[in-house]
C-alpha cells in the first residue's frame, strides 16, 4: 500500500529527505503529525518552551501529565507512538543559539518554520538564505493564517516586507496622562517590578525574551503553584502565567483605569495583551529615557517607515490567540508545500492565505497568482545600507547593541566596526569597558559608517549614523 496520489519518485524523495521543524507549539504539533503520516522518516524538531495547561486545547501531542515538560521532547515521544520507525531528534533549545549555525542548517533538505515571533522567524530566514536551504515559513492568528516559501533568488525573503513591530508608548502618557487601558497595564507592570522585582529590566536580554515566546506566544511552564515563600533577599520575576502576579497587575491596572475614567477590562483581556505582544512593558528603559523609535523615522528605511509617531503610540492591537483549526489547516498546507518543493514544482508554491471570510470569488484558502517580486531595498536579501537617526550624545553602545541590533534587527551576536576599530565585539567582555559610553564618546559623528556583521547568521549590513 502506497500513497498513490503522488509519484513513486516523490515518495522516494520524501523517505530520504531530512527536515527541520522549528517550533513544537500549535502549528508544530500538527506539522509533525502530518510529516510522520506522509512518510517523512528523518525529522529534527527544536523548541525551548515547556508545556502549559493553556496549550492543551490545540497542541494535541501534549496532555495534562506533560505540563511543565519540554515541548520538543514530548512531541518526539508522541510522534514515535504514531510510527516507531521514524527517526525524530528533539532539541530543547533556542534556535537562535549559536550551536545552530549555518553548517547545522546546511544538513537539511528543507526547513519548516512553525514559529510566531518575529525575531526567531527573521533569524531562521537569514540562516536558510545563508545555507541555501528552502524555508517554508508559516503563521496563524485567530481564524487566519499563511504559508510562504522562501527560496533564495526566487521568492521574497521573510524580511522583504514590513512586519508589525512591538508597540511602545511615550513615558509621559504612561506616567501621568493615560488615555487608553493599555497605558494602565504598562504602568501596573512597572509597579509590579518596582515593588517586588529586584532584577532591573535593563538587564533582560530582549532577543532572548522574544524567542522564549515562540510557538504561539505561550509562556513557559505552569507557575500556578505560588504558595512557596521567597527567601530573604529574593525577588519576584514578572511572569504573565503566574496567577497572583497577573491578578495584581490586572487589579491595579483597573484601579488606575477607573481613576482616569477609562473603561475597565477583564483579566482575560489584560493577560491577552501580554500574550499578543511579548515585548509589552519590556522597552521601559528606552521609552523612559528617549523616544526610542524616533531614530527609525527615516524615509529610505522601508522596514521601519510605517512607524510614525502616532502609530508607535497607538493602542496595542486586538488580542488574537491561536486555535486548533487554523493551526491544523496551515500545518497541512506546509506539508503540501514541502512535497512540491521536493518535487521541483516551485511554481505551485505561491504564498497561500487562510481567510476568515470568503473573498468575492468564494475562496477561503487563497493562493497568490504570482510570486511577489523581491524587494530590492530589503536589508537582508539585498546589500543595502540603512540610516539610523539618533542623538549620538545619548545613545550608548549598549543601547545600540541591545535595542537596535538585537532588538530591532534580530541579530544574535553582532560585531560592529567603526573604521578599523571594533566597538561592539561578538567575543564576550571584549568591549564591555565602553558599553556605557555614548556613540559620540567612542568617536561616532553624524555620517559615520558602521560595518555590522553577525557571524552566526552569516549576515552583514552597513549602518549610516545621522545625528538628530
Amino acid at each position: 500500500m502506497a500513497l498513490t496520489c503522488i509519484s513513486s519518485d516523490l515518495r522516494g524523495k520524501i523517505k530520504s529527505s531530512k527536515v527541520l521543524v522549528v517550533g513544537a507549539g500549535g502549528i508544530g504539533c500538527e506539522l509533525l503529525k502530518n510529516l510522520v503520516f506522509t512518510g517523512f522518516e528523518d525529522i529534527e524538531v527544536i523548541d525551548l518552551d515547556t508545556i502549559d495547561v493553556s496549550n492543551l486545547n490545540r497542541q494535541f501531542l501534549f496532555q495534562r501529565q506533560h505540563v511543565g515538560r519540554p515541548k520538543a521532547k514530548v512531541a518526539e515521544e508522541s510522534c514515535l507512538k504514531f510510527n516507531p520507525n521514524v527517526k525524530i531528534k528533539s532539541h530543547c533549545a533556542n534556535i537562535m543559539n549559536k550551536d545552530y549555525g549555518i553548517s547545522y542548517f546546511s544538513q537539511f533538505n528543507l526547513v519548516l518554520n512553525a514559529l510566531d515571533n518575529r525575531a526567531a522567524r527573521a533569524h531562521v530566514n537569514r540562516m536558510c538564505l545563508g545555507a541555501n536551504v528552502p524555508l517554508i515559513d508559516s503563521g496563524t492568528s485567530g481564524y487566519k493564517g499563511q504559508v510562504e516559501l522562501i527560496y533564495r533568488g526566487l521568492t521574497l525573503c521573510y524580511e522583504c516586507t514590513p512586519k508589525e513591530a512591538p508597540k511602545t508608548f511615550p513615558a509621559c502618557t504612561i506616567r501621568t496622562t493615560p488615555t487608553e487601558h493599555i497605558h494602565c497595564i504598562i504602568w501596573s507592570k512597572y509597579l509590579f517590578t518596582s515593588l517586588f522585582g529586584g532584577v532591573s529590566e535593563d538587564e533582560e536580554d530582549v532577543a532572548t525574551v522574544s524567542a522564549e515566546n515562540g510557538g504561539d506566544g505561550d509562556g513557559s511552564g505552569d507557575k500556578s503553584n505560588a504558595e512557596e515563600k521567597l527567601a530573604e533577599g529574593e525577588n519576584l520575576v514578572w511572569d504573565k502565567d503566574d496567577e497572583p502576579a497577573m491578578n495584581f497587575v490586572a487589579a491595579t491596572a483597573n484601579i488606575r483605569a477607573h481613576v482616569y475614567g477609562i473603561p475597565l477590562k477583564s483579566k482575560f483581556e489584560i493577560k491577552g495583551e501580554f500574550e499578543s505582544d511579548p515585548f509589552l512593558g519590556r522597552f521601559n528603559k528606552y521609552v523612559l529615557r528617549f523616544q526610542f523609535f524616533d531614530f527609525f523615522l527615516q524615509k529610505d528605511f522601508p522596514f521601519f517607515h510605517r512607524l510614525t509617531f502616532s502609530n508607535v503610540s497607538a493602542m496595542a492591537g486586538n488580542i488574537i490567540p491561536a486555535i486548533a483549526t487554523s493551526n491544523a489547516c496551515i500545518a497541512g498546507l506546509i506539508v503540501l508545500f514541502a512535497l512540491k518543493v521536493l518535487d521541483g514544482k516551485l511554481e505551485q508554491c505561491k504564498t497561500v492565505y487562510l481567510q476568515q471570510e470568503l473573498n468575492s470569488r468564494g475562496a477561503l484558502i487563497t493562493p497568490e497568482t504570482v510570486f511577489t517580486p523581491r524587494n530590492p531595498n530589503c536589508f537582508v536579501c539585498s546589500s543595502q545600507s540603512i540610516n539610523l537617526v539618533t542623538d549620538i550624545s545619548k545613545l550608548t553602545i549598549r543601547d545600540l547593541e541591545k535595542s537596535v541590533l538585537k532588538g530591532r534587527l534580530s541579530m544574535v551576536e553582532p560585531e560592529v566596526m567603526l573604521d578599523q576599530r571594533i566597538i561592539i565585539s561578538s567575543e564576550e567582555g571584549e568591549t564591555d569597558g565602553i558599553s556605557n559610553q555614548s556613540l559620540q564618546d567612542v568617536g561616532v559623528i553624524s555620517g559615520s559608517l558602521l560595518k555590522v556583521e553577525d557571524f552566526v547568521q552569516n549576515y552583514e549590513i552597513k549602518i549610516v549614523i545621522v545625528h538628530k
Binding site: 498513490t4 503529525k33 486545547n57 488574537i320 483549526t325 503540501l336 475562496a363 477561503l364
Partner: protein, 330 residues
C-alpha cells in the same frame, strides 16, 4: 441547541483560555452542550474528531462498521498501527479521549445502511457528520437530519482531493458587522441573522445553464467530485492506483465534462491523478480544519456559515466555497 446558564469551571477556563478569547464565553458554553454523531472514522474523520474534541463539546459518538486497514496508515492518527482489522470507531476512542478528558467519547458499530430513522431521532445528538459515505447514503442521512432538526455535514478526502457539504437547514446566528464612521473609527455591532440551506439532494442535482458565468467560474474540484461519486457508484470503491483505474477515470471525466459542455482540459490529468489512492494526511488536516471550524460556528450560532460546499484543489492549494442547490419554498 439548548442554551445553558451554567458557568464554566476554573479548570475549563484555563484549558479553553485561548479559544474563549477568540469566540467568547457564550460560544464556549454552547459548545459544551453539543452532542455529535460522527459517522466514518477515516483520516478525515480523525481530523474532525480531534479538532472538535479539543474544542470542548459535550459528547461525541463514533459510528463505523468498517475495520481499520492499511490504507488508513497515511492519515488515521487516532488508531494505533497495530490495530489492523479492529473496528475503526472502537479503535479510535482511546486516543480521542486522551485529547480532552472533559468530553464524553464513545463508539458504536452498526451498519450505516441498516440504521432506521429512529436511531437519529433518539434525541441523543444535535449534529450529524458523515465522512466518506456513498452518495445515496449521504442523501438519506441528510433527509433524515432535515426532517428532525439536526445539523448535518458530509465530506470526504480521496488522495489529495477533498470536499465537504453543510446543511444547517434553517440556521439562526449572530454576526458582527463593522461600521466605518470616520477614517480611523470603526464601530462593531452584533446583529441577528438567519440563513436557509438547500438539501444535499438539491445540491448534487444542481444544474447549470450552458455557458453561464457560474459554470465558467466553477473550480475543477466540482467536476472531480462528480467523477469520484460516479466512479464509486460503478465500482463500489475509491480509485486505488493509476495502473488499475486510469482508464475508468479518464472515461468518466470525458462523459461528465461533455455533459456540462466543458473541454477535457477543465480537469487536467494531474488533477485526476491526485484523486487516486489513500487519503493524504495533510489534505485531511486542511479539509478537516475548515469543516471543524464550520461545525464550531454552527454549534455556537455565531458568525455567518460558508454556504454550502467546500472544495480543496490540491494543484493550486485553493479552497473555495460554492453555493449549490436551491432552497425549497422560497
Amino acid at each position: 441547541m439548548v442554551e445553558t446558564s451554567t458557568q464554566l469551571t476554573a479548570d475549563e477556563e484555563k484549558l479553553y483560555d485561548r479559544q474563549i478569547r477568540l469566540w467568547g464565553i457564550e460560544s464556549q458554553k454552547r459548545l459544551r452542550t453539543a452532542r455529535l454523531l460522527l459517522i466514518g472514522l477515516s483520516g478525515l474523520g480523525a481530523e474532525v474528531a480531534k479538532n472538535i474534541v479539543l474544542s470542548g463539546i459535550k459528547s461525541i459518538t463514533f459510528l463505523d462498521d468498517k475495520p481499520y486497514t492499511k490504507e488508513l496508515a497515511f492519515s488515521q492518527f487516532l488508531i494505533p498501527l497495530e490495530k489492523i482489522g479492529e473496528n475503526r470507531a472502537e479503535a479510535s476512542v482511546e486516543r480521542a479521549q486522551i485529547l480532552n478528558p472533559l468530553v464524553e467519547v464513545s463508539a458504536e458499530t452498526h451498519k450505516i445502511a441498516e440504521l432506521t430513522e429512529d436511531y437519529f431521532t433518539s434525541a441523543r445528538w444535535d449534529v450529524v457528520i458523515a465522512i466518506g459515505q456513498e452518495e445515496p447514503q449521504v442523501k438519506r442521512l441528510d433527509a433524515i437530519c432535515r426532517r428532525n432538526g439536526l445539523k448535518f455535514f458530509a465530506g470526504e478526502v480521496s488522495g489529495m482531493f477533498g470536499y465537504f457539504f453543510t446543511d444547517l437547514n434553517t440556521h439562526s446566528y449572530t454576526k458582527t458587522i463593522k461600521n466605518r464612521l470616520k477614517k480611523d473609527e470603526v464601530v462593531e455591532e452584533t446583529v441577528k441573522s438567519e440563513m436557509k440551506f438547500p438539501s444535499f439532494e438539491s445540491a448534487v442535482n444542481q444544474e447549470f445553464e450552458k455557458g453561464s458565468r457560474k459554470l465558467r467560474n466553477l473550480d475543477p474540484s466540482y467536476f472531480a467530485l462528480k467523477i469520484l461519486f460516479k466512479f464509486r457508484e460503478e465500482k463500489s470503491r475509491n480509485p486505488v492506483s493509476l495502473e488499475e483505474d486510469w482508464d475508468a477515470l479518464d472515461l468518466l471525466r470525458n462523459r461528465i465534462l461533455a455533459k456540462y459542455d466543458q473541454p477535457k482540459e477543465r480537469v487536467p490529468d494531474e488533477f485526476l491523478e491526485a484523486l487516486v489512492g489513500p487519503e493524504m494526511g495533510p489534505v485531511c488536516a486542511i479539509v478537516g480544519s475548515i469543516l471543524s471550524q464550520e461545525l464550531i460556528k454552527a454549534i455556537s450560532c455565531q458568525d455567518e456559515p460558508h454556504k454550502n460546499t467546500f472544495f480543496f484543489n490540491p494543484l493550486n492549494n485553493k479552497g473555495t466555497v460554492v453555493n449549490l442547490g436551491t432552497v425549497a419554498d422560497q
